[in-house]
C-alpha cells in the first residue's frame, strides 16, 4: 500500500491542505466547550446577559469559519482521491500491458480486472476519508485531552486512561478483521470469475443444460461469502457498543471525581461542564475514527493487492536497439528451445532454421506439436530457454520490443476484433493508415466484400469481441488488420481455419502478389495451405521432423507424407 502513495504526488497541495483545513475546523470546535464554560462561570453565575450574547457571537463566528474551511477540505479530499485513483488505474493498466505472456498466464484475467476496478475503488474511498478524517479525528481526541489538562491535571488523567483503553479496543478489533476483509475479497473474486465464465460460455452452458448446476455452484459460493461477511461483520459490530461503554463509564467516573474537587473548591461548575463536553466530543470523533479505520483497513487490503500487481515487473527484459539491418538472411532460429513456465518438458526442442527475405515458410504438425510456440518466439511473446532467434542479424532480445513487434504482423488463431468502427480496428497496427491503404489490405485479405456489404462501410461499428461478425468474417478482418501494418514479417497462425478453401487459396495468392511481399509464416493444419511454400517445417511433439520443400518432404519426411496423404490421396481426388 505504502508505495501507492507516490500517486498522490501530483495532488500534494490537496493532500496537505485538505487535512490542514480539517485541523483548522477541528480547533474551532475544540474552543466551543471553553466558550461555554466561560459563559456559565462569568455569564450565568453573575447574571451578565451582554457577556452571554458576546459569547454566542463568538460561537457563531467559529461555526461560519469552520464551515468554510470544512468545505474547502472536502473539495481537496475529493479531488485528491479521484486524481489518485485515476493515476493508479493508469499505472496499473500500463503495467498490465507491459507484462509478458508468461506473467499474464500466471496472474489471470479476472484477478487483473478486479484489481483495476473494485480494488481501486476501495482505495479511492479510503484516500478520500483519510484526507478528511485521519488527522481531524485524532486531533480532536488528543486536543480534547490537552484541553482537559489545561483545566485540571488530575481529571485529565481520566482522559488519558480512557483514550488508551479506546485505542486498545479499536486496535484489537481492527487487527482481527483485516485478514477477514482479505478473505471476503477473494470470495468476491470467485463470484466474479463465475459470472464471467457464465457469460463467455453461455452457449456451452445452455447446450449442456448446465443452468441449474451453475446456479447451484454460484449459490453455494454466494452463501459462503455471505457467511464470511457476517462473521467478519460480527466482530466489527462490537466496536460501537464497546467504545460507547468505555466512554460513558469514563463520564460517570469523571463526574464522580469532579464532585469531590468542586466540594473542596478546586474546580468550578463551568469547568465540570467543559470537561464533560470534551469527553462527549471524544466519543463522536472516536466513532468516526473507528469507521474510518474500517474503511482504511479495507482500502489497505485492496491497496496491497493493487501494489502487488503494480510491482509485478515483466519477466521479459526489453532490448535497446531499434536499428534493423537489411541482411540477406532475414530470420534464423539457432538451436532454439522453449519451455513454458511450470512445465517439466520443452515445448520446442533444438530448432534450426534460416529464412531469406521474402520467403514463404509453412509450419505444419500435429496438435500440440509446437507450431504456435515456434512463431511466438519471433515477436518475443515468449523467450527461448536455450539457443537464440535472430532477425536481421541480431538476437531478437537485443531489440526494443515495440520496434520489433511493429515489424511483425500477426494474425492470431483466435480472431478478435474490438469495440469501435471497422476503421478503428484496421488502424490498430498503423494509426495513420489512409482509407486507401485499408481498402488495399481488405482486398488482399479477401475481406473487401464484408466492408462493402455494410451500409456505413469502414464506419460500421464492431461490437465488443466482434460479436456481430461471423467467425470467418472476423478472421479475414484480422488478416486485413495485420496487413495494414505493412509488416516485414507476416505470421498467419492457423488463421485460415475458418475460411473455405477457395478464399484461403485466393488469400495466399494475393499475399504473394503483394509488392515487397513480407516474409510470411503460414501455420496450418492443411497441407494444401503450405504446399507451395518455399520451405516447410514439420514439427512433431516439439521437435523438427523435417524441413524442405513440398516435394522434398514427400520423399524424406514420413510424417509430412502421412499428413499429406490423409488429406489428399485417400480422398481419391487427384
Amino acid at each position: 500500500m505504502k508505495k501507492l502513495l507516490v500517486f498522490l504526488k501530483d495532488y500534494k497541495k490537496e493532500t496537505i491542505l485538505g487535512p490542514l483545513f480539517k485541523l483548522l475546523e477541528a480547533s474551532f470546535e475544540l474552543l466551543v466547550p471553553l466558550v461555554i464554560a466561560a459563559m456559565i462561570d462569568k455569564g450565568i453565575e453573575v447574571g451578565d446577559r451582554t457577556y452571554v450574547i458576546k459569547m454566542c457571537g463568538i460561537l457563531i463566528a467559529l461555526c461560519v469559519v469552520g464551515f468554510a474551511t470544512a468545505i474547502t477540505a472536502q473539495y481537496f479530499a475529493a479531488k485528491a482521491a479521484a486524481g489518485f485513483a485515476r493515476k493508479v488505474k493508469r499505472a496499473l493498466f500500463n503495467n498490465i500491458q507491459s507484462l509478458s505472456f508468461s506473467d499474464m498466464d500466471r496472474v489471470g484475467t479476472s484477478a487483473m480486472i478486479t484489481r483495476m476496478t473494485s480494488d481501486v475503488n476501495q482505495v479511492q474511498q479510503g484516500v478520500n476519508l483519510t484526507i478528511r478524517l485521519l488527522l481531524r479525528s485524532p486531533f480532536v481526541v488528543f486536543g480534547a485531552m490537552i484541553m482537559a489538562f489545561t483545566i485540571d491535571f488530575r481529571q485529565a488523567l481520566i482522559f488519558v486512561v480512557t483514550i488508551i483503553l479506546l485505542f486498545v479496543v479499536v486496535g484489537v478489533i481492527m487487527a482481527w478483521s483485516i485478514p477477514g476483509y482479505g478473505k471476503i475479497q477473494s470470495g468476491l473474486d470467485t463470484l466474479l470469475r463465475l459470472t464471467r465464465e457464465n457469460h463467455t460460455g453461455v452457449r456451452v452452458i445452455r447446450a449442456f443444460g448446465l443452468e441449474t448446476k451453475e446456479k447451484d455452484e454460484f449459490g453455494k459460493r454466494n452463501n459462503e461469502l455471505m457467511n464470511l461477511q457476517q462473521h467478519v461483520g460480527g466482530v466489527s459490530a462490537l466496536m460501537n457498543p464497546l467504545t460507547f461503554t468505555i466512554l460513558n463509564l469514563a463520564i460517570a467516573y469523571l463526574i464522580y471525581k469532579s464532585a469531590a474537587l468542586v466540594n473542596i473548591g478546586e474546580l468550578s461548575r463551568g469547568q465540570v461542564v467543559a470537561l464533560y463536553n470534551y469527553m462527549s466530543q471524544i466519543l463522536v470523533e472516536l466513532i468516526k475514527l473507528a469507521n474510518l479505520i474500517l474503511t482504511i483497513t479495507k482500502a489497505i487490503a485492496s491497496g496491497d493487492r493493487v501494489q502487488e500487481l503494480l510491482e509485478l515487473k515483466s519477466s521479459m527484459k526489453d532490448g535497446e536497439s531499434d536499428e534493423f539491418e537489411n541482411t540477406e538472411i532475414h530470420i534464423a532460429f539457432n538451436d532454439a528451445c522453449m519451455r513454458y513456465t511450470g512445465d517439466s518438458e520443452d515445448s520446442l526442442e533444438h530448432v534450426d532454421l534460416e529464412v531469406k527475405r521474402g520467403e514463404k515458410i509453412g509450419v505444419i504438425g500435429g496438435t500440440g506439436s509446437g507450431k504456435s510456440t515456434l512463431i511466438n518466439l519471433l515477436p518475443r511473446f515468449y523467450d527461448v530457454r536455450e539457443g537464440s532467434v535472430f532477425i536481421d542479424g541480431k538476437d531478437v532480445r537485443e531489440y526494443k520490443l515495440e520496434a520489433l513487434r511493429e515489424r511483425i504482423g500477426i494474425v492470431p488463431q483466435k480472431a478478435v476484433l474490438f469495440h469501435g468502427t471497422i476503421r478503428d480496428n484496421m488502424r490498430w497496427g498503423n494509426a495513420g493508415a489512409s482509407d486507401e491503404e485499408i481498402f488495399e489490405a481488405l482486398k488482399i485479405a479477401q475481406a473487401l466484400e464484408i466492408v462493402l456489404g455494410k451500409e456505413n462501410g469502414l464506419d460500421h461499428m464492431v461490437s465488443q469481441g466482434g460479436k456481430n461478425f461471423s467467425g470467418g468474417q472476423k478472421q479475414r478482418l484480422t488478416i486485413a488488420r495485420a496487413l495494414v501494418k505493412k509488416p516485414e514479417i507476416l505470421i498467419l497462425d492457423d488463421s485460415a481455419s475458418a475460411l473455405d478453401f477457395l478464399t484461403d487459396k485466393n488469400l495466399r495468392h494475393a499475399i504473394s502478389e503483394m509488392e515487397n511481399a513480407p516474409t510470411t509464416f503460414i501455420v496450418s493444419q492443411r497441407s494444401s495451405s503450405v504446399h507451395d511454400c518455399d520451405k516447410i517445417i514439420v514439427l512433431d511433439n516439439g521437435a523438427v521432423a523435417g524441413i524442405g520443400t513440398h516435394d522434398e518432404l514427400l520423399n524424406s519426411c514420413e510424417l509430412y507424407k502421412e499428413i499429406y496423404d490423409s488429406q489428399f490421396k485417400q480422398e481419391g481426388a487427384v
Binding site: Q74, I113, T117, T195, R206, I408, D500, S566, A573
Partner: protein
C-alpha cells in the same frame, strides 16, 4: 425512478421481516437509552452546586443508574448491529443470486449484445456498493430517526421554549440534505456510467492482451484509457464533492442551533427557569440531536449511490427473459431425429434479412454437412436448431413436433454440440470434461478422452486429469482445447449432433483418427457438421451449400460435383 428502485429494495428486504422488526425494536431501545444517559449526567451535574455544596448521596444513586443504562444500551446495540449485518448481507446475497439466475434465462439477443465486463460490473461491483449503502442505511437510518424523535420528546419535556427554537431551526438542515441528495443522485449515476464504460474497456483489452501486444497497441490503448479515465475522474470529483458537502453543511446548521440553545439556555438559567445541569443536557442534546441529521444526510447520499447501483442490477434482473417453455410441453422428449424445417426466416437485425424461405427435410440418422462461404448463415442455422434464437417465421420440427413446443432443456439435451470457439473454465481437466454432470466414473471419462484422442496429452499433464487449468485454458494449444470440448460430447452422446468447425484447429492426422470416433458417434444419429475440410464432408448423406442465407444447392457429394455448380467450384479450389 428512484422510488421504484427503493421499492424493489424494500421488497427484497421484506423477506427478513423478523430481523428487521428486531433491528427496529433494538434501535428504539438503544436510541432512547443513550438519550437517557445525558439526562442522568445533567442531573448529576445539578448535584454539584459549588464549594461545600455537593450532594454526594444523590450523585452516587444517579451514577449507579447510569451504569445499568450503559450496560443495557451496549448489549442492545451489539445485537442490533448483528441483525443489521444479517439483513444486509442476506439481501445482497439474494440480489446477486437473482441476477445470476437471471443470466441463465436471458435471451441470446441480449447476451450477444452486452459486454461481459458490463454484466460483471453489475453483479459484482454494483451489488457491492449497494451493500455498503444498504448497511449504512440500516445501521444509521433507524437509530437516527428514533434519536431525533426521542430527543424532541425529552427536550419538550425539559424546556418547552428552547425546544421550539431547536425545532424551528432544524428543518434547514433537512432541506439542505435533501437538496444535496437530489443533486448527487444524478452525479453518482454519471459516475456509475463512466465507471461501467471503463470496466468494459478494461475487460476487453485485458481479456485480449495477446492481440494488444501483438500489435504493439499499448500506447493507443493508453490514450483511449486516459480519455475514459479522465471522464470518470471528472464525474467522480463532482459526485464525491457534492455529496461531501452534506456533512459540513448540516454541521454548520447544527452549530448555529447549538449557539441558539446556549443563548436561550443561558438566559433561562439567569432568570432561574433552568439549572446549569439542564443547560448541560440541552447542549449535549443539541449535538446529539443534530448528529443523526448528519448521519441521516450522510446515509441519504450513500443511499443515492447505492440506489444508482441497485438500479443497474435491477435493470439486469428485470431484463425481458427468453420466452418461457411452453406449458403444454411434454414431460419427456426422446426423439428419433427426423428434422423438418418449413419456410423458415430469421435475421439478427430485423431490418436486414438473412435466412429466408428455408426448407429442409432430414431423416433420422442422416449426416448433414453444411458448407458455404463465411457469413452465409451456417452458424445461424445451428443457433436456430439449438433454439439459441427462434425463427421469425415458419417452423422447425423434430419428429413432427415444433421445437418451440418442447422444453429448451429437453431439446438441447438431445443435441451434442461442439463449437469452433472453445470454452474452458478454470478447474481441473476432469471438471472441464464432465462440466459438473454427475454419475460418470473415472473409467468412462478416460474412455471418452481416448475416443477423442485427448487422453494422450492429458496423460502428459503434470497432474493428469486433475491438472487445474486457468480460465482460458492456459498453456493448452487451441487444438488441445478443441479435443477437450469434443471429449465432453463423447462422454454422453445424444441422438442428434452438431459439430461446428469442431476440428478446425486439430491437425489432419489427429482429425483422421477422431473422424473414426466421430463416425462411430454419428452412426444412427442425425448430425449436422459445419466444416471447411471437404474430406470431412464427403461422406455426408446430404450436403447443404449455403450462400447469403439460402441453401443454394443440396445433395450428396457425387450429385453436387456432377452439377458443376458452386460446390464443384469450392471443392476444386482445395486442390488447384
Amino acid at each position: 425512478m428512484k422510488k421504484k428502485t427503493l421499492k424493489k429494495v424494500l421488497k427484497h428486504a421484506g423477506k427478513y421481516r423478523g430481523l428487521i422488526f428486531l433491528s427496529l425494536t433494538l434501535a428504539v431501545l438503544t436510541a432512547t437509552l443513550s438519550l437517557y444517559v445525558p439526562i442522568l449526567a445533567g442531573n448529576a451535574v445539578d448535584c454539584i452546586l459549588g464549594k461545600d455544596n455537593v450532594d454526594f448521596k444523590g450523585i452516587s444513586f444517579i451514577l449507579f443508574k447510569m451504569l445499568i443504562v450503559i450496560g443495557i444500551t451496549a448489549v442492545s446495540q451489539w445485537i442490533m448491529n448483528k441483525a443489521n449485518n444479517a439483513i444486509t448481507f442476506k439481501v445482497v446475497r439474494d440480489v446477486r443470486a437473482e441476477a445470476f439466475d437471471k443470466l441463465q434465462i436471458l435471451p441470446f439477443e441480449y447476451l450477444d449484445k452486452v459486454k461481459t465486463g458490463d454484466i460483471v460490473s453489475r453483479i459484482i461491483a454494483d451489488v457491492d456498493l449497494f451493500a455498503d449503502g444498504l448497511l449504512m442505511g440500516f445501521t444509521q437510518l433507524f437509530t437516527g430517526i428514533v434519536t431525533i424523535v426521542g430527543t424532541l420528546v425529552f427536550m419538550f419535556y425539559l424546556n418547552f421554549r428552547i425546544a421550539i427554537v431547536v425545532v424551528a431551526l432544524t428543518p434547514l438542515s433537512l432541506l439542505l440534505a435533501r437538496f444535496i441528495a437530489n443533486k448527487s443522485f444524478e452525479l453518482f449515476k454519471r459516475q456509475s456510467e463512466a465507471r461501467s464504460e471503463q470496466t468494459g474497456f478494461i475487460d476487453e483489452m485485458i481479456g485480449n492482451l495477446s492481440v494488444v501486444k501483438a500489435f504493439a497497441h499499448e500506447d493507443e490503448n493508453m490514450e483511449a484509457f486516459d480519455e475514459v479515465n479522465d471522464r470518470l475522474f471528472d464525474a467522480s470529483v463532482k459526485a464525491v464533492f457534492v455529496s461531501a458537502i452534506t456533512n459540513p453543511g448540516t454541521r454548520f446548521i447544527n452549530n448555529i442551533v447549538y449557539a441558539a440553545v446556549a443563548l436561550f439556555g443561558a438566559f433561562a438559567c439567569i432568570t432561574g427557569r433552568m439549572t446549569v445541569g439542564g443547560l448541560t443536557i440541552f447542549l449535549s442534546y443539541a449535538t446529539q440531536y443534530t448528529k443523526p441529521f448528519n448521519e441521516i444526510s450522510g446515509v441519504v447520499t450513500e443511499l443515492q449511490n447505492a440506489l444508482a447501483c441497485a438500479e443497474r442490477v435491477f435493470a439486469l434482473i428485470e431484463e425481458q427473459p427468453e420466452q418461457a417453455d411452453s406449458k403444454d410441453a411434454p414431460e419427456a422428449f426422446l426423439p428419433e431425429g427426423n428434422i423438418v424445417i418449413e419456410d423458415a426466416a430469421f435475421s439478427y437485425d430485423k431490418s436486414k434479412s438473412l435466412i429466408e424461405d428455408l426448407d429442409l427435410n432430414i431423416k433420422k440418422g442422416q449426416r448433414v454437412a453444411i458448407v458455404g462461404p463465411t457469413g452465409s448463415g451456417k452458424t445461424t442455422l445451428i443457433n436456430l436448431l439449438m433454439r439459441f434464437y427462434d425463427v421469425d417465421k415458419g417452423k422447425i420440427s423434430i419428429d413432427g413436433m415444433d421445437i418451440r413446443d418442447i422444453k429448451r432443456a429437453d431439446l438441447r439435451n438431445n443435441f451434442g454440440m461442439v463449437l469452433q470457439e472453445t470454452w474452458l473454465r478454470s478447474g481441473t481437466i476432469r471438471d472441464n470434461i464432465t462440466l459438473g454432470r454427475e454419475g460418470f466414473t473415472d473409467d468412462e471419462i478416460i474412455q471418452a478422452a481416448k475416443a477423442s484422442h485427448a487422453h494422450s496429452f492429458i496423460k502428459r499433464l503434470p497432474e493428469g486429469y486433475n491438472t487445474v487449468i486457468s480460465e482460458n485454458g492456459g498453456n493448452l494449444s487451441q487444438g488441445q482445447k478443441q479435443l477437450l470440448c469434443i471429449t465432453r460430447v463423447m462422454l454422453n452422446i445424444p441422438p442428434m449432433l452438431i459439430l461446428d468447425e469442431a476440428t478446425s484447429s486439430i491437425d489432419t492426422n489427429t482429425e483422421m483418427r477422431i473422424q473414426k470416433a466421430f463416425n462411430k458417434m454419428m452412426s444412427g444419429r442425425t448430425s449436422f457438421i459445419v466444416a471447411h475440410r471437404l474430406s470431412t464432408i464427403r461422406e455426408a448423406d446430404v450436403i447443404l451449400v449455403m450462400k447469403d442465407g439460402h441453401i443454394i444447392e443440396q445433395g450428396n457429394h457425387k450429385e453436387l460435383l456432377d452439377k458443376e455448380g458452386f460446390y464443384y467450384e469450392l471443392y476444386n479450389s482445395q486442390f488447384a
